[in-house]
């Protein structure tokens, strides 16, 4: 993979850029709002862009899909913010999971993985700090905090 350099743009967002095998410089500018721009640099004046493409959130997904990347794994990577060994992760509970119908207490997640479920997203609703008697339904997304290993174990449990 080519080297990707990152430049923060105060008040705007962050820019990542790299050089293609053919020698073209390309940048992806991610605005704070999530909107993105793809820029191709000018060969004459390497500091200016010849083409700028403006992508909405949906456009980004479409383009990522066309380019063969999985938008899901990308989204997960984006939200997995590490904080001194602690990570936060979003885990979807598929409707076929063995845990559907069980409560958080019955799943014994904290005992088994060390990770805590801090919220559950159901459709458009977010249940912050669900109690131990929260019962999972298929399609729920559990938001959990723990070590990266604990979260991986939790993911295995919820998905199985």
């Amino acid at each position: 993979m080519p080297e990707v350099s990152e430049t923060p743009l105060p008040g705007v967002g962050v820019r990542h850029e790299f050089t293609t095998v053919q020698g073209e410089r390309v940048a992806v500018l991610t605005h704070r709002t999530g909107r993105r721009e793809i820029a191709v640099y000018d060969r004459q004046d390497p500091d200016a862009c010849t083409t700028v493409l403006h992508l909405s959130h949906d456009d980004t997904r479409t383009l990522a899909e066309l380019l063969g990347a999985s938008p899901v794994s990308e989204a997960v990577a984006a939200v997995q913010q590490r904080l001194e060994g602690l990570a936060i992760d979003w885990v979807a509970v598929p409707s076929g999971s063995r845990l559907v119908g069980l409560t958080i207490a019955e799943g014994e997640f904290r005992t088994r993985t060390g990770a805590s479920i801090v919220a559950v997203v159901r459709g458009h609703m977010t249940l912050p700090a669900p109690g131990p008697d929260h019962r999972f339904e298929g399609g729920d997304v559990a938001v959990a905090v723990g070590t990266p290993e604990g979260l991986a174990q939790l993911r295995d449990l919820l998905v199985s």
Partner: protein, 393 residues
């Protein structure tokens, strides 16, 4: 029904005037949007038209408009503080000292010297230096985005300079405000000292307790957040004013203290309110200027604008050069920094009570009119001179 019954004849007249003025501003904002330029010069011209000696002088509600305008300044500074995260401010300080100092020297100095040449006292000259110095971050961000230059290699250098000017304002504004209120030398030194100490204390408090404040405000609806942020801004601004630090700087520090998701949300909920109040501020600023004074100030303002363009070109050349940008990009950096706007007016409004305040106001308004319109044009069309770009690249 009680409201209808209670509306006094005074209030009725005020409603009609304020309503008509707001609608007039709305038309101007649309025109500005259509032309793709900033609204500030339009509002300034509108203020001239309704002020003394203008085409449609307004008589009632001047007091009301003045108060609303002052709230507008607080909200302008609040959103300035909200614009950058603490990390961005730290990064700016770490990487931008040389460009920042170049910027201050090559842009504050011409204004200051021009003030002295015009025979003003030192305080008014210091304010004119500030008017000349600070680039309008609002105009620059919009122009760069409109011209699709956000991804350009010189853009981080431009944005970092804007961050540094923000930080410089945190020191400059209270100092200038204290200078204006101080009478003799001893008293001036004391007020400036108190002002800077207060800024330091509030800034430390903001850095230390900012996260806790943000966490406190995070839960709850947007309505609650809007009221908390608005209340806090006015409260801290008012307290800062009591300490003879300018109220604006208190508001700025409230913006700095907010961080994380709250920062983003607060920015979004306050923005429409800021647009409304700030429009009134620009209007009121030029409302107090006689059109004849403004015309008289056009020639010196134009001369100052030329020097100010040279100052920003030098700043851009240095700042972008340090970031490894080529000659064309270094030139673009300078032209992008040309526009002055909201903060030049805020600074000039500090001097309203000075002996040279009237002249300062007129000159600042003329200067902002020229640079806010000319700056974006320069950014777009001012090509680098051929000698500065090596051939064959």
């Amino acid at each position: 029904m009680t409201v209808l019954a209670a509306a006094s004849p005074d209030a009725t007249a005020a409603f009609i005037e304020i309503g008509a003025v707001a609608l007039g501003l709305a038309v101007l904002a649309r025109v500005a949007g259509r032309l793709g330029v900033t609204t500030i010069p339009f509002y300034l011209l509108a203020g001239l038209a309704i002020g003394e000696g203008g085409i449609a002088p307004l008589d009632v509600s001047a007091e009301f408009i003045s108060l609303v305008g002052e709230i507008g300044v607080l909200l302008l500074l609040l959103t300035l503080g909200l614009e950058y995260t603490t990390d961005e401010l730290r990064l700016g300080l770490r990487t931008g000292l040389v460009p920042g100092v170049t910027d201050a020297l090559s842009n504050f100095t011409p204004g200051f010297v021009a003030g002295l040449l015009l025979g003003w006292d030192v305080n008014a000259a210091v304010l004119l230096g500030g008017v000349c110095w600070i680039t309008s971050s609002g105009i620059v961000a919009k122009v760069l985005s409109d011209l699709d230059r956000l991804s350009n290699r010189e853009t981080p250098a431009i944005l970092n300079l804007l961050v540094l000017e923000d930080l410089a304002m945190a020191v400059y504004l209270p100092t200038a405000a204290a200078l204006v209120t101080g009478r003799d030398v001893g008293e001036t030194v004391t007020t400036v000292g108190i002002a800077l100490a207060a800024v330091f204390v509030i800034l430390m408090g903001a850095m230390r307790f900012g996260a806790r404040l943000s966490a406190l405000l995070a839960p709850g609806t947007d309505e609650a957040l809007l009221l908390s942020v608005f209340g806090l801004t006015l409260l801290v601004g008012g307290l800062a004013q009591q300490l003879e630090v300018s109220a604006a700087i208190g508001a700025f520090l409230v913006g700095l203290a907010l961080s994380g998701p709250v920062q983003k949300r607060a920015g979004a909920v306050v923005e429409p309110l800021r647009d409304l109040f700030a429009a009134v501020f620009f209007l009121f600023f030029s409302f107090q200027i006689k059109p004849a004074d403004l015309l008289g100030a056009l020639a010196p303002a134009a001369a100052l604008a030329v020097v100010a363009l040279a100052g920003k070109l030098l700043t851009g050349w240095v700042a972008a050069g340090r970031a490894g940008v080529g000659p064309a990009g270094r030139w673009r950096t300078g032209t992008a920094l040309m526009a002055r706007g909201e903060f030049s007016i805020v600074i000039a409004s500090l001097g309203a009570t000075l002996d040279d305040g009237t002249e300062l106001g007129a000159l600042a308004a003329a200067f902002v009119l020229l640079t806010a319109i000319g700056g974006p044009l320069a950014t777009r069309y001012l090509a680098p001179p051929p000698w500065s770009v090596p051939a064959g690249r």
